[in-house]
């Protein structure tokens, strides 16, 4: 259980009288009448909202943009009822010295109790000149804020795998958060950006259950990164049946068939896109006709060309070579439908066997 503000003050040796005087000063500083003092005191004596510091390092702010789109919880609920977002450059009213002071205050007064959220990579090359905030290097700013945090959440692909600026040859020496922060738990929440409700969900998980979420072996929350997009894809049946889009906007596309052959990285990408979907469950790339580009996987930019298909599909349930099989049926839709039925039947039968790939360890991350 976290201390309330009052409890924290008492522990540091302040008397109740001093606490109430502080409440009066605080009330006046907020421009409120004296009648608010008891209310301020009450709030400070009770469980505070979890302080959160959100750092922007070397990034494009897509994660913050995604974060503000959260539909459950609504961002206003999160900000007003669940957390105290004490530092986030994109949204906070204060700037410069006043912003820095707000951050310092949280680090000082909520020592060991605040969550640190980081968006962006850390460019280590050339003494950190490639990203400075308030004249200090990104590494400096991160290490300082991480020191007394309860845990660090690395939001987005920049913070977890350095995303586009870390693609070969990584000219600024960008590294992910976990290479800099080694003394605190770091939870990786990858994606470019991660889904809004996933971002919010990771924070609320901690607030609600008072513990960090369970992680996959890659350090990502199991609740959102345990399965491949392929495993829950709405076009999966067509993959299994060997019915593929061969070219954008072709007959197969018009029927909503599988995008594997136009480059889909769904079979190697672990993310919640196919389940949670985007922007309050409206769609996700594959559903809207574009192949998954694999944005939550390390080094995804070096796995392009984007529209070339994967050489190998791990843990595939399909008993045939899509390159040869798909073409045969897209040219002949009627036959395709018949084959679909047969192929699905074969797969369903195979799935019951104990050594089927879906049942093996390799079928999971």
């Amino acid at each position: 259980m976290k201390d309330s503000f009052y409890a924290a003050m008492r522990k540091r040796g302040y008397s109740r009288r001093e606490f109430l005087r502080m409440c009066a000063i605080l009330t006046a500083a907020m421009g409120l009448e004296a009648s608010f003092i008891p209310k301020v005191a009450y709030a400070l004596e009770n469980k505070p909202r979890m302080p959160v510091i959100y750092l922007h390092l070397q990034e494009c702010t897509c994660c913050a943009e995604s974060f503000i789109r959260t539909a459950h919880p609504l961002l206003s609920d999160l900000l007003f009822n669940m957390i105290s977002l004490d530092y986030m450059e994109t949204l906070q009213a204060a700037a410069g010295l006043q912003a820095e002071e707000a951050k310092q205050k949280t680090m000082r007064e909520s020592k060991g109790h605040y969550l640190l959220v980081v968006e962006g990579s850390i460019p280590l090359k050339d003494d950190g000149i490639y990203c400075t905030i308030g004249g200090r290097s990104a590494k400096d700013v991160l290490l300082e804020a991480a020191k007394d945090s309860v845990a660090v959440i690395a939001f987005g692909s920049c913070a977890t795998n350095t995303c586009v600026q870390g693609a070969h040859p990584n000219p600024t020496g960008a590294v992910p958060v976990k290479e800099v922060v080694t003394t605190k738990p770091v939870i990786d929440v990858p994606g470019c950006p991660p889904i809004a409700e996933v971002i919010a969900g990771v924070i609320v998980h901690y607030l609600t259950f008072d513990r960090l979420p369970e992680l996959t072996r890659l350090g990502r929350p199991k609740a959102f990164y345990n399965h491949r997009i392929h495993d829950n894809c709405n076009r999966r049946a067509f993959f299994d049946a060997g019915m593929f889009v061969e070219e954008f906007d072709d007959e197969g596309a018009k029927h909503g068939w599988c995008l594997y052959k136009v480059g889909c990285k769904g079979p190697t990408t672990y993310n919640a896109c196919a389940i949670t979907q985007w922007n309050n469950g409206v769609s996700y790339p594959i559903k809207s006709g574009h192949p998954c580009i694999g944005c939550s996987e390390p080094g995804f930019y070096d796995n392009f060309p984007m529209y070339d298909h994967l050489a190998h599909v791990p843990a595939s349930a399909m008993p045939f070579d899509p390159d040869h099989f798909g073409k045969a049926i897209t040219g002949l839709t009627v036959a395709g439908v018949a084959v679909h039925g047969v192929a699905t039947g074969v797969i369903m039968r195979d799935r019951d066997k104990p050594d089927h790939p879906d049942k093996r360890e390799g079928g999971r991350e």
């Binding site: 907020m30 070397q58 007003f80 990203c131 809004a196 954008f248 906007d249």
Partner: protein, 571 residues
């Protein structure tokens, strides 16, 4: 003796911006704008498939998440002479208009609003009086006494908790705030409404592009197949969602954003600061033709010098003598000659001469920013909504002229009032209204086209690289919410061998040039009074009026940096 003040980080914007200003006699007498982040996306692009380029350069910015991808695919389509099907053009235009509307509303309430609206003052408001004011300026249904009482209660509870979160340690009570408590309460209420609404309108991007931020695009068209008789494609349910969000957006802009803008502006008419460089540039947008210098375009392109609205110059991004970039005060150097370089001839070679972090102050006599200094025919140019509205106005575009004249009339202001921070903020709102109308129009056109039997969204003719010429070059130029955006690409043997972009915030946040001519941010700050130099509210107000986007502005580095300076990718 002038006092040097530093604002770093400048918050409520995208990226890392630092302002150093000299204050003397309660006024800003000199100012320096510095972008302090650099990502160096250079070599990454070299040798890549041009059809993939959009996915990289889209990640320049997650706020302008749509428009960089559009400029990129347009540059590649221009280079390879690819004709895009009508449906795909309309879908892209719907997405562009959606981005403008969403982005401008977020900017007004969440990034810029708190420079004009005092949150704590809203606690003193009388909810009854607030409801009377709200109902007098708009037909928005959420305007009852109960509604404003509830909002005020929420804010009170928040403030009484002693944890002010994003509102902590700000400038509440600063003398530059002029709104009565009731108008502040309306502003705070709509801050919350806008927060909830912005996540919905963006679903339009999700329908066509699969997600937002960073939707997906396709060279030669769009990937969202249209088949109204299929469950896995764009069908009526999907399109209906778009239509519903457009209706909600029109209501929000007309009933919330614009009435608020006019109400707030009427209290700040005397705050005439923030004029800037006096020159304005637009490439134009939402025109199907490749050159966009016509009055009849939705947003025409052109250049205005020295605030002279009687003369508009044509702009040609292909002309080597028009758009050029300089590095005299940027942490780069050119090989051989100094002077400006057109993007085609560009070079981005890092030469950091700033202080080693941690540092207190930059050497502003030397190089002081990761942002370059772009010039149009050697002149510093402001880009963005104000530039677009002024260029459209000066070209005699009827919709734009009508909108500006009407707004000035309603506020009782002359044309000169446009050349200010307030003018910029007003222009952004007027533009949003034109955009949301255009959004509806584009949607109607899309449906009419589908109804007429056209469901094509992609042109496969030149998808296969074997159909491409050995070498090709192209330009994609358009308007981002923040201003003129250009991407330049060269393709050789089916691969990208040069990729460059000059983006809106590079124009606006640029450091001064060799002759000491200030960039737009810097020029706009000079002459502004500051009530308390330790509390930079006035600086924020002016800088935010431009809607900065610093990740866009900081240049990427040359493809082979220190070995081969020919191929550059920079932003």
């Amino acid at each position: 003796m002038a006092q040097r003040i530093v604002v770093d980080p400048v918050t409520r914007l995208e990226g890392h911006l630092r302002i150093e200003a000299e204050v003397e006699g309660g006024k800003i007498v000199n100012a320096f704008s510095s972008g302090t982040t650099f990502r160096g996306l250079e070599r990454i692009m070299e040798g890549r498939d041009p059809r993939d380029a959009w996915a990289f350069v889209q990640r320049i910015c997650g706020v302008c998440t749509h428009i960089h991808a559009i400029a990129s695919i347009q540059a590649v389509e221009d280079a390879l002479d690819i004709t895009v099907p009508k449906n795909a053009i309309l879908i892209r235009q719907i997405m562009t208009a959606t981005q403008f509307v969403q982005d401008h509303v977020i900017h007004f309430y969440h990034l810029h609003g708190l420079d004009w609206i005092d949150v704590v003052s809203a606690l003193q408001a009388d909810p009854k009086a607030t409801a009377v004011i709200a109902q007098s300026i708009s037909s928005y249904p959420k305007a009852s006494v109960g509604y404003f009482t509830d909002i005020q209660k929420t804010i009170k509870g928040f403030v009484e908790s002693g944890q002010l979160g994003i509102f902590a340690n700000a400038y509440w009570g600063h003398p530059a705030y002029k709104l009565p408590p009731e108008v502040n309460l309306i502003g705070v209420a709509h801050y919350l409404e806008a927060l909830e609404w912005q996540k919905d309108i963006i679903k339009i991007h999700t329908i066509f592009g699969g997600k937002n931020p960073h939707p997906n695009y396709l060279v030669g068209g769009m990937a969202c197949t249209i088949n109204v008789d299929n469950d896995n494609t764009l069908n009526m349910e999907r399109l209906d969602l778009v239509a519903t969000e457009i209706s909600k957006a029109m209501a929000f802009v007309n009933q919330v954003y614009l009435p608020d803008l006019f109400a707030i502006a009427s209290y700040y008419k005397d705050w005439t600061y923030g004029g800037g460089v006096r020159n304005y540039l637009a490439y134009g947008t939402l025109a199907n033709q490749r050159e966009k210098n016509n009055a009849s375009d939705i947003f025409p392109g052109g250049a205005i010098l020295n605030r002279n609205l009687n003369e508009v110059f044509d702009v040609n991004p292909r002309d080597l003598n028009q758009v050029q970039e300089f590095v005299d005060h940027s942490w780069y150097e050119y090989t051989g000659s100094d002077g400006g370089r057109h993007p085609w001839k560009g070079e981005t070679k890092v030469k950091y001469s700033g202080p080693k972090p941690p540092y207190e102050q930059l050497d502003t006599n030397g190089k002081y920013s990761w942002i370059k200094t772009p010039r149009w025919k050697n002149q510093p140019m402001e880009v963005g909504p104000l530039a677009r509205m002024l260029v459209g106005y000066a070209r005699g575009n009827a919709a734009i002229k009508g909108s500006v004249d009407d707004a000035l009339g309603r506020l009782g202001l002359g044309q000169d009032a446009l050349f200010s921070a307030l003018g910029r903020t007003l222009a952004r709102g007027l533009e949003t209204k034109l955009m949301v109308d255009y959004l509806k129009k584009s949607y109607d056109e899309l449906l009419a086209n589908i109804k007429a039997g056209d469901s094509q969204v992609f042109n496969p003719d030149k998808w296969d690289p074997s159909t491409w010429p050995d070498t090709a070059e192209g330009v994609g130029f358009t308007e981002a919410p923040r201003g003129a955006l250009g991407h330049w690409v060269k393709i050789a043997q089916s691969k990208v061998n040069l990729y460059q972009a000059v983006v809106p915030t590079t124009w606006n946040a640029a450091p001064e040039d060799k002759a000491g001519k200030k960039g737009p941010y810097e020029a706009a700050l000079i002459g502004t009074p500051m009530a308390d130099p330790q509390k930079p509210l006035e600086i924020l107000r002016i800088i935010h009026s431009f809607d900065p986007c610093i990740a866009c502005a900081a240049h990427m580095i040359d493809a082979k940096t220190r070995q081969d300076l020919g191929n550059c990718l920079f932003f």
